[in-house]
Amino acid sequence: MQKTKVVKKKSPRDKAGFRLFLLSLPFLAGILIFSYLPLAGWSYSFFNYKPGKALLDCEFVGFKWFIAPFNNPVLREQFVRVMRNTLGINLLYMATMILPMIFAMFLMEIRWKGYRKLVQTLTTIPNFISWVLVYAAFFALFSTEGLLNNILVGAGVLTTPTNFLTTTSHMWLKMLGYHLWKGLGWGAIVYISAITSIDSEIYEAANIDGAGRFQKMWHITTPHLIPTFFVMFVLQIGNIINNGIDQYLVFSNAMTQDYIEVLDLYVYRYGLQQGNISYATAVGMWKSLISVLLVFVANTLSKKIRGSSIF
């Protein structure tokens, strides 16, 4: 008796819930197609896939492509180089992650509000343009016909113009420079809003105690910003082998390729440009697996140190 009562009570609600499910079904189908279906593409890495043939007509090679970067001397050399670039550039990025915080702290020291707003507005613009436009900006400055060459040749320092975009020295530092140029102002925003939410009474108390400007920055502002910085830093650990392709594709050319070819770009070149789909998929899978692992490591780290997980 009681049981039927419960069922009766739940039934219209269940029906409504099922209707909601049906209404969201197209979206769920989209998730299935665009996020889960590509996983089936991983099967290509177990075959010797030749474009134009059906997958099952191709030779099954097991884990050949997965161990290829370690066994084949040529591929191993490439793989080591690519991994060195990937990790080197990303570690440089991580080493400079403190800069947006410092940027925000000093920006808030500017008393003239109009100027502060202007700086903030203009320095965040580069974040909203594509890497192609970033490349265009540096192309205008550093290419053979660019500003720097005009100045140097005009001043007699150089006799013939050099294309600074194809010189290979300090390539990682240059990539870091482009990265900071684009992201520094934007990265500071989260810290700026953290600073404005610090209780001003703390500063007032410090004033009464006779604390100077830098003492306040060091003893009040910094400790308030460190938790935010920590979250950003831990998130970056999960991304340490992800670079994206954009930045590296626009800045790469025949000269610089050896120094800036990162994992994502390597996969693209092998898979879509040279047509070695199976090998590229295997390398991509390595990347995906290590990434997921790193995300878990980062999360565990965060739990241990801060007592709260970030995901």
């Binding site: 998730i31 996020s35 590509p38 100027y115 700086v119 192609v132 436009l133 140029w181 004033n207 997921v292």
Partner: protein
């Protein structure tokens, strides 16, 4: 705002020495220099597009435009691939944004209702996709299999399934007062009516933020053109710029194909490949710069919701 004001007042009370003033000036100067570094490249490109082309070719325009003319813009717009690319860019920006908004708002509404059928399971099914990615090559293979490779839809459809947007909207919807929807429910309004008439209008602020980010993302995206299209008709402005910057002399050839157009120009306004690149660059960046001041508050808000969820 009030807190800011208070803080400023409290700071002005403190005694200021000449040392403080020097530190102030140094800080302002350093930020001034960085700001100029961020903006100057585009100023430089811009003055080079409107200055006398023969001066540009000899590299004599660095700070002040000279011999101002707009012939470069007129000519660039008459290039045959550029209007098409502009249309594609515009279409993907508008359509992509509309689709993104709908595909974020409606599923978010569904998942914001407690009675959703096996809510926990399906919500996890959606959210977990944020933490893995099959990679470029399997994605490429999938697009080819389902037939959106090398079509316009490759720009639109993949952006519609962004769990991150869904979380943002869902969280916002759950913070709305429940009573409004309940009263409509009692009046017999179904899910669609309640979503369209009550929930959507209340969600305008968060949807506006997502729309602005999606529009900028769509306008700026060129990697999908590189990876998932072949057809020249599908190229966007960004991609055209990419090609122009990379293929140094493509445009000189195009100009050579139209000698009658070139013949009636005097040498001073003759197009050099460099000025074409610069002009395409300005055409591509202009929409961003024009809308940026109006939408700045949305950008900042977007960063904040992102940080809270992150």
């Amino acid at each position: 705002m009030a807190r800011n004001k208070k803080e400023d007042e409290s700071r002005s009370v403190e005694q200021r020495t000449w040392r403080d003033h020097i530190v102030d000036i140094v800080i302002c100067l350093i930020f001034g220099i960085f700001t100029i570094i961020c903006i100057y490249p585009f100023y430089y490109i811009f003055i080079n597009t409107i200055s006398d082309n023969s001066l540009v070719a000899t590299g004599r325009i660095s700070f002040i435009p000279r011999g101002i003319h707009f012939a470069n813009y007129v000519k660039v717009l008459s290039l045959k691939e550029l209007p098409g690319a502009a249309v594609v860019s515009l279409a993907r920006t508008v359509l992509g944004t509309i689709f993104t908004i709908i595909c974020a708002a409606f599923p978010a509404y569904c998942f914001s209702r407690e009675e959703y059928w096996h809510k926990k399971i399906f919500y996890r099914f959606v959210i977990i996709t944020m933490y893995f990615s099959a990679g470029v090559i399997p994605t490429f293979l999938t697009y080819r299999t389902i037939g959106i490779y090398d079509t316009f839809w490759v720009y639109i459809l993949p952006c519609c399934v962004t769990p991150f947007n869904l979380i943002l909207v869902k969280t916002y919807m759950e913070s709305l007062p429940q009573s409004l929807e309940e009263s409509a429910e009692i009046d017999g309004a179904g899910y669609m009516v309640r979503f369209m008439r009550i929930v959507m209008p209340l969600c305008k602020p968060i949807l506006a933020t997502i729309a602005v980010f999606s529009a900028v993302g769509q306008w700026n995206n060129w990697m999908d053109t590189v990876l998932y299209t072949k057809n020249r008709d599908l190229q966007t402005l960004q991609y055209v710029l990419y090609r122009y910057l990379k293929e140094a002399n493509t445009l000189a050839e195009i100009a050579r194909e139209n000698p009658e157009m070139m013949a009636e120009m005097d040498p001073a306004t003759m197009l050099s490949p460099l000025t074409i690149k610069y002009t395409v660059c300005i055409v591509t960046i202009l929409p961003i710069l024009v809308v940026y001041p109006f939408f700045q508050k949305y950008f900042v808000k977007g960063m904040m919701v992102g940080a809270v969820k992150g």
